[in-house]
């Protein structure tokens, strides 16, 4: 590809054709401020914060939107540029609800940072913030506060380009222009999957997750309550970003200590129920295969689709309601954990389940909605009392005043704190598939999966849809009907890719047996509840940390988890048993399509 030579602030830079001025500046570490620009999204060029001077052109140019051209002379730091940027930021501030002291995103807000960097005082423009803007708190997962919106449209682009859900749109024009749902209905009444990707990309506090940590603090402070927290696999590789560690640092041990210091009675691991999911879902897959191949039952739904990602589940319920039979009936690890906390755990510990408050720490906004689904009460109580995001846990740790960097490491409590590497990799796209294959292949053949170090690299990576196949040879007698079968699997992440998978299924052309889908790009490590910012580089670093964590585990196959073996022996009996069916499996419902 041909290279272009240009000059930025007197320094020469070479860059590939088609790249923008902003890209070229980044290459030589010249920082140009941006606001509507996001690496994951198409260029909008609507905020103008990134303007630069281009020799020969009278007007300033938006560097995010202008392709670099041969011989260009760019100046990024002249009085003209600085004054223009200052004016632009001041105008954005004049429309913004500047009650930063009470904003959840304070200290992690791009507008606040820019405003401080450019020393915007309130005297330049009077506030023209519209009065009486109501905050939409209708959704269990996401809050929308238009008074803090700068109309950069990152959320709209996220919902369209990454998720293809298009729940958010730009409505009206001029001074009335705003980010709306259909007819500006409350978020709970529209086709929103609660994935929270918009929250991750909102530069301000206009879109945030609905917070529940105050209720959790209440429970922790109440001596009659037994508070159980479980942490999802991807939380441990991202939490550190909020507490002083570089991206991609594993902070499992410190996180467990910190949670104990919060005053939580029992710190447990969602990886345990991830392992359990593998046993249940893996068995469900094998049973479906048997029904299809041996019993020639043509009502059996294949491919089987994973159901761990509640954003993905709600996506199916809205947009593919006729194909819900393909979804695994397994609850997500969070909900399995909740149901077991108030039954098995309560019984073993001799605690009245009504006194247990179960809190899930998740990388996810949709988990909040999932915890509040009417059907998630199989323990006789609300199975999960509160679903918090990684960000909320980070806030709680800060509120406690702990010096996270100095904390000693500790391990999870028992019971339901033991896990394997297979549970850990649930946090990355492809992880559920890899964990399932490690166990299912071994059940069927009696041998380990034929990959070096159990690393099934074919299902790893960042491509939107990945596929792999694994030939079953020398099956044990019980599964001999699978002899010679080439198991075809696929992995998709980001709902735009999920749509492709579902369209194929709807057309009856899906060649796969088993498909893993995660609503968020990168899987849970890129979830809507993870630390902000996010981009491809950050997601890759978190994924690498997940696989590192897996490699460091002694046990790396779900069925080898001793606590899993015990729970089957003492309580569940076997996968898909009657008890499992009641506590660990669920049903889905059709929701409005438009």
């Amino acid at each position: 590809m041909s290279k272009i030579k240009l000059t930025i602030d007197g320094r020469k830079v070479q860059i590939e054709q088609g790249k923008t001025i902003l890209d070229a500046a980044k290459k030589i570490n010249v920082k140009i401020p941006t606001l509507c620009y996001h690496e994951d999204l198409c260029v909008a060029g609507n905020c103008r914060v990134c303007v630069v001077e281009v020799a020969g052109s009278r007007a300033l140019q938006a560097s995010c939107a202008i392709p670099a051209q041969e011989g260009m002379e760019i100046r990024t730091n002249t009085p003209k540029v600085r004054n223009a940027r200052k004016d632009i930021i001041a105008m954005l501030v004049s429309e913004h609800n500047t009650q930063c002291t009470t904003c959840y995103r304070s200290t992690n807000c791009e507008l606040q940072t820019l405003s401080a960097e450019y020393n915007i005082d309130n005297n330049r423009y009077l506030s023209i913030l519209k009065p009486n803007i109501e905050v939409d708190r209708s959704s269990w997962s996401i809050e929308k506060d238009d008074s803090k919106c700068v109309r950069c449209q990152r959320c709209v682009r996220t919902c369209s380009e990454l998720q293809h859900v298009n729940a958010l749109t730009v409505s009206h024009k001029g001074k009335d222009m705003k980010i709306s749902t259909f007819h500006d209905l409350p978020l709970k009444d529209v086709v929103c999957t609660n994935c929270g990707q918009c929250v991750n990309r909102c530069p301000t506090g206009a879109l945030t997750e609905r917070r529940y940590f105050d209720e959790v603090w209440e429970a922790i402070g109440d001596p009659t309550k037994h508070v159980v927290m479980n942490t999802a696999p991807s939380v441990r590789v991202a939490l550190g970003e909020m507490l002083g560690y570089p991206v991609g640092t594993r902070v499992t041990g410190k996180m467990v200590t910190a949670m104990r210091r919060l005053g939580v009675d029992s710190v447990l691991d969602t990886d345990f129920s991830a392992d359990l999911t593998i046993l249940e879902e893996g068995t469900e897959l094998l049973v479906r295969l048997k029904k299809a191949l041996v019993d020639k039952d043509d009502t059996v739904k294949l491919p089987l689709l994973t159901s761990c990602s509640p954003g993905w589940v709600k996506f199916c319920e809205h947009l593919y309601p006729d194909h819900l039979g393909h979804l695994s009936t397994c609850k997500s690890p969070q909900q399995m954990f909740g149901a077991l906390t108030k039954t098995y755990y309560a019984d073993k510990k001799g605690i009245d389940p009504k006194d247990i408050v179960s809190v899930a720490i998740m990388p996810c906004a949709a988990k909040k909605f999932e915890a509040n689904r009417g059907e998630m009460k199989d323990s006789g109580f609300q199975d999960i009392d509160a679903g918090l995001t990684t960000r909320e846990l980070g806030h709680m740790i800060r509120q406690t005043g702990l010096n996270f960097l100095e904390l000693e490491e500790s391990t999870y409590d028992s019971i339901m704190g033991e896990s394997t590497g297979a549970g850990v990799i649930f946090g990355a796209t492809g992880g559920v598939m890899e964990a399932a294959l490690r166990t299912a292949y071994e059940i069927v053949t009696g041998r380990e999966v034929p990959f070096a170090d159990l690393n099934i690299t074919a299902v790893r990576g960042m491509e939107g849809i990945r596929e792999a196949s694994i030939l079953i040879e020398d099956a044990v007698p019980e599964w001999s009907f699978l002899e010679g079968v080439e198991m075809k699997v696929a992995v998709a992440h980001g709902l735009i890719n999920a749509r492709e998978i579902m369209d194929q299924i709807a057309a009856g052309e899906s060649p796969y047996h088993f498909i893993e889908v995660m609503a968020c790009p990168g899987g849970c490590i890129g979830g809507g509840g993870q630390p902000i910012p996010t981009n491809e580089e950050i997601r890759k670093a978190r994924v690498a940390a997940i696989y590192e964590e897996d490699m460091n585990m002694t046990l790396r196959k779900s069925h080898e988890n001793p606590e899993i073996q015990t729970i089957y022996k003492d309580f569940l009996k076997e996968p898909l048993s009657h008890v499992s069916h009641n506590l660990l499996h669920t049903t889905y419902r059709k929701r409005q399509h438009y």
Binding site: H183, D189, Y594
Partner: protein, 169 residues
């Protein structure tokens, strides 16, 4: 933000039968094609027949063109001439910008308000007329200007209003 109760009331205000609306959308989509490019002509077609875009109509369009309902609403709400609130059979628009203001648009509006017993932005009880203010209609040299549906009335005077509007009754 609208609450859900308002939303359902709004729906019942829709004077058109749901099945008719869906049929209309179907016809328009057959005529203009199923791609996103036909969104505007289809929206315009519905407004021509039903005077505004009901929720039923927008959802039917979303379905037919494989778009989200929010997308359809976003486009519809952008254009002043694509109404998303229930409107009368005839829409009167009086230019509100500076030239027409200097030439007496306020007196024209008052004459209409007196005659129809509605205020700007409202619809008559019999759903015959809706009165709206419009941005520049490009007739500054012949202001004040009034638009009734697609008919232009330049140099309009307050004493002509009764006669003009009678033509639409």
């Amino acid at each position: 933000m609208k609450n859900y109760i308002c939303y359902s009331i709004n729906n019942t205000l829709n004077q058109f039968n749901m099945a008719d609306t869906e049929k209309l959308v179907e016809q328009l989509v057959t005529q203009h094609g199923k791609t996103r490019n036909s969104l505007l002509p289809v929206l315009q077609g519905v407004v021509r027949e039903e005077h505004f875009l009901s929720d039923t109509a927008m959802i039917a369009i979303a379905k037919a063109l494989n778009l989200s309902s929010a997308d359809v609403y976003g486009t519809a709400s952008f254009y002043t001439f694509l109404e998303t609130e229930p409107r009368g059979e005839n829409i009167i628009r009086v230019c509100k910008t500076i030239t027409c203001k200097m030439k007496g648009k306020q007196q024209v509006i008052e004459a209409i308000e007196n005659h129809l017993k509605i205020k700007e932005g409202e619809t008559t009880r019999n759903k015959k007329f809706t009165l709206l203010a419009a941005n520049c209609l490009g007739w500054c040299h012949k202001g004040p200007v009034m638009l009734v549906n697609d008919d232009v009335y330049p140099h309009v005077a307050p004493d002509q209003i009764v006669d003009i509007l009678d033509k639409y009754c």
